[in-house]
């Protein structure tokens, strides 16, 4: 061992061994890394180039990590201090200019190459396409609302419906704090910032229902600020939009009877539980009758027990008027007086009063 330690001529042998170990370990590592199913299901055209970029990054990264660990482990294995070497010093190697130039230049070239590739991908996924549909996304504590253009008006929905293979341009806005519109299946994400419009593009290419997630901490209900995106056939989308249009007319206070009659009577329980409605009470509140168990807001079975209709109405319209013990003002959205129709509001109040008696 000591003899080997003294000899500098063994360097090529060590390097050859290391290279062999490194290549085998890298190959194994790359195979393993590529076998992992990293991403959620891909449902937009933007996903493929990003996933490919990811795979390329993995293929480049694994050998770098293998290089570091292999040299560390090999050195420890080979040159660990043995008994009797307590006072021995290593060879006084101070550096090697050629080696240092190589390990400065090579990573630099590699990184610039990766950046160029990433730039190309970025350009690709953000390119404006013909026949793009516009959707306005509005975030507020703690719900998403999606607005579709319909003639001169806008139709609002709490669920996002998109037609298959049609490019979509989302304009993202916020009513209060920062939110972040993220559809993991599309690989797109952008903050919603009050005061400015941000935007993002996606072209859905797979039928199905996928989560819409708020990715920017926005307060107490942040974890519950989720919605769904439904990618459907174009004709289904048109039908849905038609239903939304008639629903909006039915719900409109001065709608004058409405046309389709899709929502002739208001089902307050559905209103309470379903996030597709203007409210999503159940995502924050617990209510035994509706079977919800949200913890962001107070337990309605307790705080509304025996309360008057007027009190319940006030609590919906002006949530900050009375704050339950242990909760903070300003968490519950303060716009339900506007977003709920009078019929919906009174149905909700009646329902809540009944089930919390």
């Amino acid at each position: 061992m000591n003899g080997e330690r003294q000899s500098a001529r063994d360097a090529p042998v060590h390097v050859a061994r290391l290279v062999t170990i490194g290549i085998i370990a890298s190959a194994l590592g790359i195979v393993l890394a590529l076998l992992i199913n990293w991403f959620p299901v891909s449902a937009a055209k933007q996903a493929k180039p990003i996933d490919t970029l990811w795979d390329v990054l993995l293929i480049v990264s694994v050998p770098v990590f293998v290089l570091v660990t292999t040299v560390v482990l090999y050195s420890v294995y080979r040159w660990r201090m043995r008994p009797g070497e307590e006072l021995l010093d290593g060879p006084p190697i101070h550096g090697n200019t050629r080696l240092e130039i190589v390990w400065t230049a090579l990573p630099a070239i590699l990184l610039v190459a990766l950046c160029s590739y990433a730039y190309a991908v970025l350009h690709d996924i953000e390119e404006a396409k013909a026949d793009t549909m516009e959707v306005r996304v509005v975030g507020e504590q703690f719900a998403w609302t999606f607005f579709y253009r319909d003639g001169g008006k806008e139709l609002a929905s709490h669920d996002l419906y998109l037609p298959l293979n049609r490019p979509v341009h989302f304009t993202i806005q916020s009513k209060d704090v920062l939110h972040d519109f993220w559809v993991p299946a599309f690989r797109v994400k952008k903050d919603a910032v009050r005061g400015i419009d941000t935007d993002v593009r996606a072209t859905p290419n797979r039928i199905g229902t996928y989560p819409v997630v708020c990715a920017e901490l926005c307060g107490l209900g942040h974890a519950a600020m989720r919605s769904d995106v439904h990618v459907v056939q174009p004709q289904q989308f048109t039908a849905w939009l038609g239903k939304l249009r008639s629903g909006a007319q039915a719900a409109a206070p001065t709608g004058g009877g409405g046309g389709g009659g899709a929502k002739a009577s208001v089902d307050a329980k559905t209103l309470f539980t379903t996030s597709a409605q203007p409210v999503a009470c159940g995502s924050c509140h617990t209510l035994a009758d509706a079977g919800t168990n949200g913890t962001t807001g107070p337990d309605l079975d307790q705080v509304l027990k025996g309360k008057s209709a007027a009190f319940i109405k006030q609590s919906i319209e002006q949530p900050n008027a009375v704050i339950a013990k242990g909760y903070t003002p300003g968490i519950m959205p303060q716009n339900y007086a506007q977003s709920l129709s009078p019929a919906q509001l009174s149905a909700l109040v009646k329902y809540l009063q009944e089930v919390t008696k």
């Binding site: 990003i50 570091v68 006084p92 101070h94 550096g95 690989r187 009050r194």
Partner: protein, 659 residues
Amino acid sequence: MTATAQHSPASSHRSPSPTGGSRSRFRSPGHVRALLFLVLGVLFAAALVIAVRALYGFPIAADGKVTTATQDGILLVSLIAAPLFWLVGLGAFDYWFYWAAGRKTRPEDHSSHGAHSWRDYLRVNTDHKVIGIQYVCTSFIFMLIGGMLAMVIRAELAAPGRQFVDASAYNGLFSVHASLMIFLFIIPIFAGLANYVLPLMIGAPDMAFPRLNALSFWMLPIAGTMMVASFLAPGGSFATGWTAYAPLSTDAPIGQMFFTIGVQFAGASSIATALNFLVTIITMRAPGMSFWRMPLLVWANFSTSLLVVIATPFIAASQFLVLLDYALGFNFFVPEKGGDILMYQHVFWFYSHPAVYIMMLPGFGIVSEVLSVKSRKPIFGYRMMAFSLLAIVLLGFTVWAHHMFVSGMQGWIRVPMMITTAIIAVPTGIKIFSWLATLWRGVIHLDTPMLFALGFLCMFSLGGISGVMLAMVPVDIHVSDTYFIVAHIHYVLFGGSLFTIFAGVYYWFPKMTGRMFDDRLGKLHFWLTFVAFNATFAPMHLIGVEGMPRRVSDYPEQFAGWNLFISLASFVLGLSTLVFLYNMITSWRGGPRAPANPWRSLTMEWQVSSPPPIFNFDKVPTVVGGPYEYGVPDAQHGIFTAPASEESKSSHPSREARA
């Protein structure tokens, strides 16, 4: 606990109270007077707020009760005023006040130098060795608190739905956890280790400004106490993450201000220490200690201090903007009134990205020391190691907006920021490769400090690699604000910074305490930490890419399996800290006596006794060679020839540097 006792001069140096008698306890500096002043500070705040409110005609009391606005106002002003009063009471400003008032300053008897019993560590002390130990111990206390918060976080996340805490408390937990770990642990503990070691390494008797050094330290417990105490605030602790993004932070309950103001104290402490290091390094090097003979730890702290001095004022600014918006309605972040929400993020990250290097460069320095000594070889490419530190300082200021790729800022900024972010991996790569080459054909002593240094090399590389992946804008768009980020930051700050901290604490433990630690327990600590660390944080990469956002108290069922695994691993990680604590405490109390230079190191802190004499060097050292000349026959770094004269010993420490 009797660290420097055997080297202390006669006990007549113990601080005598100027007037004597118990009556003066309220007048002489110390904790009694500090407490008195603390109360005065709160009263001052109350008087100020009530006076101003009365002046403006705002209600002070209603229904026989003080209004909430008045209470919050008093609390807020107290947060600013009471700590300053407390510092005055403690005596941190006494000398300067005497001097400024033209009164007779106390003769320089060095009574506040050195520690003679454990009590001296609880007093204002100007000895850099005492301050170093104060820093290290205080930081570890806050690390334990922060770690326990992490345990609660993982307990809550062990299963979907609500386990132990509600959403409000949960948001507070991760916010306080991150703030403590960053501002009260990693940043100050590096300052503490350097405080102890750096003057010794460059052959100086102390830091350039010992009183400023003491003041820097005493601002830390203020910041930490404030952040921990925020849990008691009405409305709960600050719950907007350590990033405190506006407008969530400007609209939050009063607990937010405990962060906003706490950070000011931590930042001021940081800036003062950095100035101290810069002046010490530039002006107080021993004869012959040219810049190119400085150990890399000194280089690392030189670079870090540059970063701190330039960058830290920016986080101070960002928090002042939040404070003014919150308390006085300045509308910096109210777009309807001409405010700009994105501006907060730019100002914040202009500090907080360099802060990542503030939390890493000193660790690079520690690893350079440990690897060279424990491989018995010179550092490979010493000058490139120093230059790469400076390159990181420079590039560190050009990458901040990579935290904002999805923030909605102008799209074009993303591309230059992507390139600079990728390029900063080049100097970092130079360091990694140079360390590997240092190992090559060395005589590797695989003890605890070395294990942590090698663990750092592997884990930090992984963190660096995920960093390069994050630099790539399209990938970053998908994984921003997910658990992938949580994994990355912990590989960099735990696998990176914390591993170097452990390496450094073990490495200098004999010097700081005069005792040897138990190497077998140290190795057990390393392996427990290493395995549990990877089991905890590696799976976070997976669930992040799969779609789990960070900062959520609840998550969909699909992530339940990994989260349970992560939580269990994190509890083992928490327990591994107990091994470390046990080792440190028992070794300090009763470990075998440490020789002056147990590692056969060349750098100068090891050429004096363990622990060092009260003024570090009884003989003035002269530096005649590089610090890492292992394997070079008869190589010397510092030589001690001329005995220091009595005169220079009693002169002011900061003046005798060039003596």
